[in-house]
């Protein structure tokens, strides 16, 4: 699997062949606070780039999961649905959201570029 890349919507993406694993960044998880509920698309769902495909709800706010590209959901993380606190405890690991089979990815941010974005 490649190094993590990022979007301006505070999602991270790890690419393995034509499958991308997607989650939200530690920065986003921290901003949301205690995540209590995660709503993810079912495997097999078709995605359209830029569309809202899921919701991440905390005690004080609701974040949205955007599809970074067109594609199809291969798997949604049942563990994070069952235990949403994984988003806070391990956002880039066990707290991943969905795996997506994609055809083309947009230009993504590097770790440095994302760090610069959130430093503003």
């Amino acid at each position: 699997m490649s190094e993590l890349q990022y979007t301006a919507e505070h999602e991270w993406i790890a690419v393995d062949g034509d499958v991308a694993t997607i989650g939200i960044t530690a920065y986003a998880a921290d901003k949301l606070g205690d995540v209590v509920y995660v709503d993810l698309p079912a495997a097999g769902s078709a995605l359209t780039a830029g569309a809202v495909v899921g919701e991440i709800e905390s005690t004080k706010s609701v974040g949205e999961l955007f599809a970074p590209s067109d594609g199809e959901v291969v798997e949604a993380n049942q563990a994070v649905i069952d235990d949403p606190s994984l988003v806070n405890s391990d956002p880039t690991g066990d707290g991943w959201m969905i795996r997506v089979r994609f055809t083309a990815l947009p230009t993504l941010l590097s770790a440095e570029e994302y760090a610069a974005l959130t430093a503003e």
Partner: protein
């Protein structure tokens, strides 16, 4: 401020009693002078001149119209006038039914809940640690509704049954797999529900299909498949408006098979005897809990309800009480899933409901607690038995043979005559058409009344000597609809059946809560002012409490006159032409106002005008209401100082020129500031052909000084539960009248069953649904005497004095606290309006202490926290209102300054970040007594931080509640007793 005396007897010759305004306003002359000096002004007039921009003040030549208000009455005089109005109502025994039934309010509940300020002056339980009493009552309500409907989770009330059905329809559309745009509606729904569905469905583009569902079910599967084809949901009235009891399960199954959602509109008392909707396949059940001990009140207020099956919890509109745990691991109640609500989700919210009907839900739940399952069943049996005996006596003229309490009777050609004869005997029946009438039996129906009804109908049918059988041969509830399952099995429903026990349970719960009878509740944007005892007096008078909303016009003249007077007074003080009192909350007033705007544009062929401009600082409800009115929200930016960004507004107007339906703006702004540019803003919107909606939530800062209608508003809603003294009831009831200029009058709410149209519409025709927004024609009339009394006793001058005192109090707090906590926004001359936002973000930066810590620590100091993190995260918004006295304001200042010092001690490292009086707040008695004390501050610091709290200390019943735990482990019914061991 005018020159009235601070207290004492009125100077007016011949007047009886004191000047009420002197009692309502907490500041006497000495206090006022002291506070003016602190703020730096010589007089309240000078302060208001400096605070309120000249641009919105009355212009030369404009009259404020308040001369039209009658001069202030004393409390005694106002009560005498109310008595006279009450005397013009005639209370007859209503058997009209249609969702409103006679009921016996247990006296112990009337006295200890409805007439008890510990219950009625509390606020929505946003601070759960000091709201455990009403949260427990509400979880009892939720358990009661879930049990009786046979569903998993119920919310903490809806505004009424009709709007609950609408919410059920909207829920169905969100949750359905079906992509259909059609909602199937039972022909036998209540007439008000039918009109509400028509009005609301049209606005959001839903198509309704009405059908005789019981008839289809009787005709077999093919007929069902035909009507249920391709719909996203269905609502069945169970039992029907005509009384008919039919099994809805086949219809539910057919709709669900097509990916739709099944909704039952039902009756809690019937459900003690008939199969639960959840057992018959319903996904959702809605209805009213009115007949559980809440008087009809000429239409309201009552608690509607909604329950859903497992899996739909997150789709529930309104508030939901859940169980979590506190810092000591003890069970504790709180509002769950708050992020579903519109203050977070804005235009994506599931509903625009905020205020619900907490006080009435508490009453209904206590009715169930007091009677228990066996008692409720006994009441229901008696109701059903009486109805069945009458039907039996009438033979085949009783149209339906299966029913609970309502009997439809065929009386060819004589329905009106029979109803008139019945009225002469003080009984009200419901005329369906020339050939049919129906009656509903309730808890209060006597055998004598039943006999009278049977004889009257018998006479019409040619059998005048019909006798009521002692036992009916007819069995009106038959399998499979005979309820088999248990309900209300939790011990709370089997414990408090003696009056002593009930009284103590209510006291036990009330003692856990912080209401206005303990101290100030300085919640910004909520206006927690005095709810005076005189204002409350008439609520329970039978002439107002026991009227059916569809009683004949001649019987309700007193109430209609009160309504018309209040309408005209509210129009006068806001500068509008017409007022409808129908909306049951601010959210519903917003919706009614926006729907009026929508109707106006459509009537002019302006169908493209569907964009609603909303400033980013607006209350989230604005956006949610706009969506429900079928509009698209475009957000207008605010400047750094919190005002609407005029450049951005102009840009947005230019961009959407011909699509602008309305701008919604709150005045004074949600930032508690009098904006300068509101006239320019209104002009810009008008020039573009849009309408201006002024949200009246903050009217308490304006009354007597400026009027929405004068500075550009076309329509507003008012919150009578804020500015006009209706108590918050722990989260409802509310009344949210909509006030408008004459050109919008044709589109204001009316009702198909109203006694008369109290709104002059200039002869305009109204649609079949009458623009209805609430189930009852005049909303919640039984609490209107509260606002009527307030205006009547304050007079124009008193209302103006109250505004001045409220603004003075807010500015006093701002000045006193500014050093400890920066005031985020202010207007001219550094002044705020009637509330101020304290910025706690710098404190967090400096010390790590959060806004939550400060809010919870205030509990230890004996205060209810101000509004947290609205409209700006990390801040507290403080609104003292005019009713607090100087001593209470100073006590609050002392507490806040002391808390600042504690925070500084944390920042200085004197106390650890994770172990200090703030982060551990609130402290229960148990936490300072039981076990070893290991904290770096002493016990006295924990619970008696200032001497002022020693006397009359309020002890919170739980420690800080874990919000995340409750949302991750959703439990919304009474926990087992063992959980509290």
């Amino acid at each position: 401020m005018s020159g009235q005396g601070a207290s004492g007897l009125s100077a007016g010759a011949g007047r009886l009693g004191e000047v009420f305004a002197d009692r309502h306003i907490g500041l006497d002359r000495a206090a006022e002078a002291h506070m003016l000096e602190a703020v730096g002004y010589d007089s309240v007039d000078a302060l208001m001149d400096a605070a309120v921009p000249a641009g919105i003040r009355l212009q030369p030549g404009e009259t404020d119209g308040t001369a039209a208000l009658p001069p202030a009455a004393s409390e005694r005089e106002a009560l005498a006038e109310l008595r006279a109005l009450a005397g013009r109502n005639t209370v007859r025994r209503s058997m009209i039914g249609l969702g409103y039934y006679g009921t016996i309010t247990p006296a112990v509940i009337q006295r200890n809940v409805l007439e008890n300020p510990s219950w009625y002056t509390a606020y929505t339980p946003y601070q759960p640690e000091i709201s455990q009493g009403r949260l427990e009552a509400l979880i009892n309500f939720q358990t009661m509704v879930a049990d009786l409907t046979g569903l998993t989770t119920a919310n903490a009330s809806m505004l009424d049954e009709g709007t609950a059905v609408v919410e059920g329809m909207l829920l169905a559309r969100r949750a359905a797999k079906s992509t259909s745009n059609v909602f199937l509606v039972d022909e036998d729904v209540l007439p008000q529900t039918r009109a509400l569905l028509q009005h609301r469905a049209e606005a959001v583009g839903i198509e309704l299909r009405f059908a005789d569902l019981a008839g289809a079910a009787a005709s077999g599967d093919a007929a069902i498949a035909d009507v249920a084809a391709d719909v996203f949901g269905v609502v069945v009235q169970y039992p029907g408006a005509s009384g008919r009891l039919a099994d809805p399960s086949a219809v539910f199954a057919a709709v669900k098979a097509g990916g739709g959602v099944a909704v039952a509109a039902t009756d809690l008392l019937a459900l003690t005897l008939i199969s639960a909707p959840g057992e018959l396949g319903a996904d959702v059940a809605v209805g009213s809990s009115q007949r559980f001990g809440v008087p009809m009140g000429f239409g309201g207020p009552h608690a509607g309800f909604m329950a859903v099956r497992a899996g739909l919890e997150r789709q529930l509109p309104g508030r939901l009480v859940g169980v979590s745990q506190d810092a000591a691991g003890h069970p504790a109640y709180r509002l769950s899933l708050q992020t579903r609500e519109q203050h977070i989700r804005r235009e994506k919210a599931t509903s625009n409901i905020c205020t619900a009907q907490v006080l009435l839900a508490v009453m209904a739940s206590m009715y169930a607690v007091y009677h228990g399952p066996a008692g409720l069943k006994r009441i229901a049996h008696r109701v059903n038995r009486t109805a069945t005996r009458i039907a039996d006596a009438l033979g085949d003229a009783a149209v339906h043979r299966a029913f609970f309490d309502t009997v439809l009777v065929r009386v060819p050609g004589t329905a009106h005559r029979v109803a008139a004869d019945a009225r002469d005997l003080d009984l009200l029946l419901h005329v369906v058409d020339d050939d049919h009438l129906q009656f509903s039996v309730d808890e209060t129906t006597t055998d004598e009344e039943a006999t009278t009804v049977a004889r009257l109908l018998g006479a019409a049918l040619g059998t005048p000597d019909v006798a009521l059988p002692v036992k009916a041969a007819l069995v009106s509830i038959q399998p499979p609809l005979v309820r088999q399952s248990d309900y209300l099995t939790h011990p709370v429903f089997d414990t408090h059946h003696s009056e002593t026990g009930m009284m103590r349970y209510l006291k036990h719960l009330a003692d856990k809560d912080y209401a206005l009878d303990r101290g100030m509740i300085p919640l910004g944007s909520c206006t927690m002012k005095l709810n005076a005892a005189t204002e409350m007096a008439a609520v329970t008078w039978p002439e107002f409490a026991d009227l059916h909303p569809f009683a004949p016009e001649a019987d309700v003249e007193g109430s209609l006159e009160l309504i018309e007077q209040l309408q005209s007074w509210l129009a006068t003080v806001t500068g509008y032409d017409r007022v409808s009192l129908q909306p049951n909350a601010g959210s519903q007033g917003e919706l009614a106002g926006l729907l009026a705007i929508r109707g106006y544009h459509l009537s002019r062929g302006d169908a493209a005008r569907m964009i609603c401009l909303i400033p980013s600082s607006a209350h989230g409800t604005n956006a949610a209401s706009a969506v429900l009115a079928g509009m698209r929200v475009v957000v207008v930016a605010c400047t750094e100082t919190g005002d609407v960004d005029l450049d951005d507004l102009r840009a947005k107007i230019a961009q959407h020129a011909d699509e602008i339906a309305a701008l919604m703006i709150t005045y004074p702004s949600t930032h508690g500031v009098y904006e300068h540019e509101v006239r320019a803003i209104a002009d810009a919107v008008h020039e573009a052909g849009g309408q201006v909606y002024v949200d009246g939530a903050n009217l308490n800062a304006l009354l007597g000084y400026a009027r929405f209608g004068d500075f550009g508003g076309d329509v507003s809603h008012l919150n009578l539960h804020k500015t006009f003294c209706i108590p918050h009831g722990g989260g409802g009831p509310g009344v949210g009248p909509v006030a408008a200029k004459a050109h919008l009058a044709p589109f204001l709410p009316g009702h198909p069953l109203q006694q008369r149209d109290t709104i002059d519409r200039g002869g305009a025709s109204v649609p079949e649904h009458h623009n209805i927004v609430s189930a009852a024609p005049y909303g919640s009339p039984s609490i209107l005497p509260i606002s009527w009394s307030y205006v009547r006793m304050m007079g124009a001058d008193g209302l103006k004095r109250a505004t001045g005192a409220a603004v003075l109090a807010a500015n006093y707090l701002a000045v006193r606290l500014r050093e400890a906590f920066p005031v985020l926004y202010s207007g001219d001359n550094g002044l705020v309006a009637h509330e101020c936002i304290l910025d706690l973000r710098p404190l967090r930066e400096a010390t790590g202490v959060t806004v939550d810590d400060v809010a919870k620590r205030l509990i230890d100091y004996g205060f209810h926290a101000p509004t947290m993190s609205f409209p700006v995260a990390g801040t507290l918004m403080v609104e003292p209102t005019e009713s607090e006295d100087l001593a209470e304001l100073d006590r609050f200042v002392e507490a806040m300054i002391a808390i600042r010092a504690e925070a500084d001690a944390v920042g200085a490292g004197e106390w650890a970040h994770d172990d200090n009086p703030l982060v551990n707040a609130p402290h229960t008695a148990e936490s300072v007594i039981v076990g070893e004390w290991t904290h770096p501050y002493d016990r006295e610091r924990a619970v008696y931080p200032v001497r002022a709290v020693v006397a009359g200390k309020y002890w919170p019943p739980v420690r800080r509640i874990d919000q995340a735990y409750g949302d991750r482990n959703l439990v919304c019914a009474c926990p087992p007793i063992e959980a509290f061991a």
